[in-house]
Symmetry: D2
Subunit: 338 residues, 4 copies
Amino acid sequence: MKNIKIGLIGLGRIGLIHFNNLKYQIPYAEVVMVADPRHKEQFKGVVVGTAEELINHPEIDAVVICSPTNTHADYIDLCAAARKDIFCEKPHDLSLERVITTLETVKKAGVKLMLGFNRRFDANFKKIHELVNLRKIGEPTILKITSRDPGPPPLSYLKSSGGLFMDMSIHDFDMARFIMGKEVEKVYATAAVFTSDEVAEAGDVDTAVINLTFMDGSMAVIDNSRKASYGYDQRLEIFGSNGMAQADNNKHDSHLLVDQEGSHGALPLDFFMDRYEASYRLEMMAFIEALLKGEGLPVDGHDGLEAMLIAIAAKVSVDEKRPVLLKEIRNTIRIKAL
Amino acid sequence: MKNIKIGLIGLGRIGLIHFNNLKYQIPYAEVVMVADPRHKEQFKGVVVGTAEELINHPEIDAVVICSPTNTHADYIDLCAAARKDIFCEKPHDLSLERVITTLETVKKAGVKLMLGFNRRFDANFKKIHELVNLRKIGEPTILKITSRDPGPPPLSYLKSSGGLFMDMSIHDFDMARFIMGKEVEKVYATAAVFTSDEVAEAGDVDTAVINLTFMDGSMAVIDNSRKASYGYDQRLEIFGSNGMAQADNNKHDSHLLVDQEGSHGALPLDFFMDRYEASYRLEMMAFIEALLKGEGLPVDGHDGLEAMLIAIAAKVSVDEKRPVLLKEIRNTIRIKAL
Amino acid sequence: MKNIKIGLIGLGRIGLIHFNNLKYQIPYAEVVMVADPRHKEQFKGVVVGTAEELINHPEIDAVVICSPTNTHADYIDLCAAARKDIFCEKPHDLSLERVITTLETVKKAGVKLMLGFNRRFDANFKKIHELVNLRKIGEPTILKITSRDPGPPPLSYLKSSGGLFMDMSIHDFDMARFIMGKEVEKVYATAAVFTSDEVAEAGDVDTAVINLTFMDGSMAVIDNSRKASYGYDQRLEIFGSNGMAQADNNKHDSHLLVDQEGSHGALPLDFFMDRYEASYRLEMMAFIEALLKGEGLPVDGHDGLEAMLIAIAAKVSVDEKRPVLLKEIRNTIRIKAL
Amino acid sequence: MKNIKIGLIGLGRIGLIHFNNLKYQIPYAEVVMVADPRHKEQFKGVVVGTAEELINHPEIDAVVICSPTNTHADYIDLCAAARKDIFCEKPHDLSLERVITTLETVKKAGVKLMLGFNRRFDANFKKIHELVNLRKIGEPTILKITSRDPGPPPLSYLKSSGGLFMDMSIHDFDMARFIMGKEVEKVYATAAVFTSDEVAEAGDVDTAVINLTFMDGSMAVIDNSRKASYGYDQRLEIFGSNGMAQADNNKHDSHLLVDQEGSHGALPLDFFMDRYEASYRLEMMAFIEALLKGEGLPVDGHDGLEAMLIAIAAKVSVDEKRPVLLKEIRNTIRIKAL
């Protein structure tokens, strides 16, 4: 097998994770060039260029986009024009219209686009997905996702994040579709600010409960908080006609101390860098393997779009204090051949 | 201390539990008379009479009402007239108007009325209540209650049950108020029939997700199913500014078998008779003790009314596909001095 | 079915448990007379007599012996003479010779003798026994029993207890035989005093690890402590050719509090009165049922003897710092037709 | 800080783990040369040489020895002569005499020698060690280690392994010393062959229970099996005057499936390559850091010797069916200035 030659744009927190995985952990991947204004000429032995040089580099097969959100859509368009396959970190773009146009562009160009919903590759959630697919719980009827961050991001981040639903819950919306294997019909959300004045200042919320109703009447409930004092909390439970499956949170270790106060166990892993370390690697491996084998991608632009529609519906639901049908959101935009 | 002399009406499933607890397990309680059309003259050494004889028996201090729901309100009125304290199984009555009149009657008569929300006395939920009160999780913001029965009741029961929200979820509505220590402002519910045609035939639902929004913006989510294939499922989780507390389900035993397929543990306890065996005893003890000490009851008529209002709002929410404010329900009825 | 008429000797802690179970919880059992010097004429509506009156009471079918250990053997002999079936609390007697003679007497008289190894009726251990019998773990090769008390008994008790192995570990020796379904060949024990000077003063030990080697080379390890600071600890694990089974300890409740320090769960149940409440009831039910059906007893005098032989071997092992064969102990006594 | 320049001998299973960690994961380490007869000239961009060339390479600071056991001692001697610090995989050597001479040589040469007891760096066991050191359980009195492999190695391996105690249990002997923080006085072991004829053919055992008595009378019990049908099992529990601490096994994921049969969780991780992946990395990091800072090593030659003495005592105990004092083993050898 020949290697997949990669160009990687953006060496921030997530970009570095992907870089290290591509360079040291994934066979058949080779990082040919990186682009990041913070680095010149060389980064860990890899040539540094501009994003445009990188996208148009003749040896590069695929581009991994980890730059700020507001650049994603433009780079996708450039990649499509250069006939490069694309891995793009979420969110795709904060504008639904813009997302639609990139999807059209990508489709016309015949290039592949994978969205960075890495949690699908987490051992726990992958196992639940597998159990559901094997019909171990029968027909799924109630899904419950708990997704809580250890602390709110800084005000600067909040202001450009697109808000809780678009920035944080969007992972859970994708997870809901992934695990249930069904499409969402209706969204109802309640939300509040409980953690910090900065969140209110950014016009955002930090605590939310979101109900999804699927086409067949089955239901999902997602609860989000920007601040779980005890750390990162990522769990889910799915209930069906023949049983239930749960994925518990991951902890630092498995110790249990029992003393006169009771039993005491470890804290959860701190944040996504620890919790999803393996899932980032497996996600990128899946991308590389799909390219190598010429197969379909495990998460694509359509998945990104659907999660985004749910996020928008949740926002409308909170603003208008009512359940919102996904087709209301769809109707507001020109969705062509997707 | 002198004994509390009890008359007990109704020796069905729950009535028998209360009878055995009062007779064999609770000091200072004495069952003087029982009333049940299925028994004549004597039941386990206790005199059998009619409900009216029992309520007006001069030696009886308090009446425990476990007869069919449609008799509750009338017996409460008779007890009030006879100046007897009352323990009444839930639901109080299916008519909100009728519930209100009994509460007024009881208040005027100056007798005590305790509602059978036994789950408040369950070791797990009591502990969570205690942790919340001790501010161990800080300010509570998200409550999640899972409450699933092992199988739907027969059609005959369903038809006169008042529906899922009034019959089953009502325990969870009380639990939500008990644990959060706050009052509900708004209810949104989605529901479906997934388990049996009989449920649909009875005009009822068997699966529901109910969102409660409290006065301060905090939230609760209740998920109910009439049929958990694996048995009775009673759990909750409460999240707050400083932590989280969970109450797990109770199992037959603590075994873990580990073989080539993985690890395997016990099933949950079968149904409420097993799971809440101790809570029924502790509930009745609390009733007897409150009477002995002349203290306030741990669950009273007001608690019954509030849970009922939430149940009605949930029904309206499903019917009208919208969030319903509790005050909408309150406004539909004449609520006087309660 | 006619009732089994019971006489009960000794209304101490354990005697009371058996009394309440026989009187209120077990159908087909009827307590006709009790004997206890602390009570005169009547106890909870039951006639009080002397032990001798009770044993020779013509209506009594079976005698439950809960008096001090040093009276057990004499009462067993009297019961045998009076042709009464016997339930005797452990230990049977501290003298091996005396145990042997009662077993011979009982055998000759053709009466039944059940020993109070109540833990066999605990839901957890019964389940493990069942899993082993169903060959769920294949052939058992390593058994590990943890058995720790919450605190040492008073000096007065220690002095007449027969020592840690005979008083406390004896339950674990019975459990080892029960779960493994094999006989012990060899015992090696190490022990120490770690908890209190009183234990040393009584010439006893409070902490021990006891190795049992079974006839087929399989092994058991028992660890005992008189003082687990966190409460009563009763667990086991059995490993075999096809898997492993564990029974965890029982806790006050199932709560889990998660805060910035980690997760925190409940303490174990305080002591045997709480932990084995149900097993005492089920044990006595099994005794009554075996008598009613004329069937063999689930735990008999032979089981008592075997556990005692192991206890003696453990003591010799500690004293002589060497492994001790059970047949060495057997050879020291005249064991006839048992 | 300047890099530590490493030569690595032996690229088998463990050698590769160390190689990848040193090359890709550990800052300040640089692999300058490797030696392995299976590779010529270059291995993943690193020069290949002979062991002798490598040990005497002027740029190399430290040598990591992962070659077959029977070469360890000779390479250690050569490293000492060349004044290179040493990381040596366990076992050090199968001959106690030879181990002693290398320790003397190393000491005289003033070089550092770290033994590969990687489990000390496992998150679970490290946490238990920390809790014990913080006196969270008071004074430790009973330690229980469970250590079971998923399946016996091939006959060829067994024959040159040194036997169960020297090959497998030796990790547990080190763990016992590490966790208890005390020295062993006496060993008693029972063992058997339960898994395969090959084990017997190799003159080895596959199942063992080993009791350690420490100088202060506290106790440890280790149970080993070469074949746990359910996978790799690595747990421990330590009991002390003020509490207990447990480290549970690590599993593939945290899922729980609950169906009509009960609850079902994941299998443990397959074997040491998965379970101890992080501990190998952290172990090597600790080695590099100690060299960089000129500090003492976390596990040294003395630790290797003590574990070996326990292994030998266990073997003698099984052969002679008696407890064996460690000083008996010490007395059989010339132990000088160690």
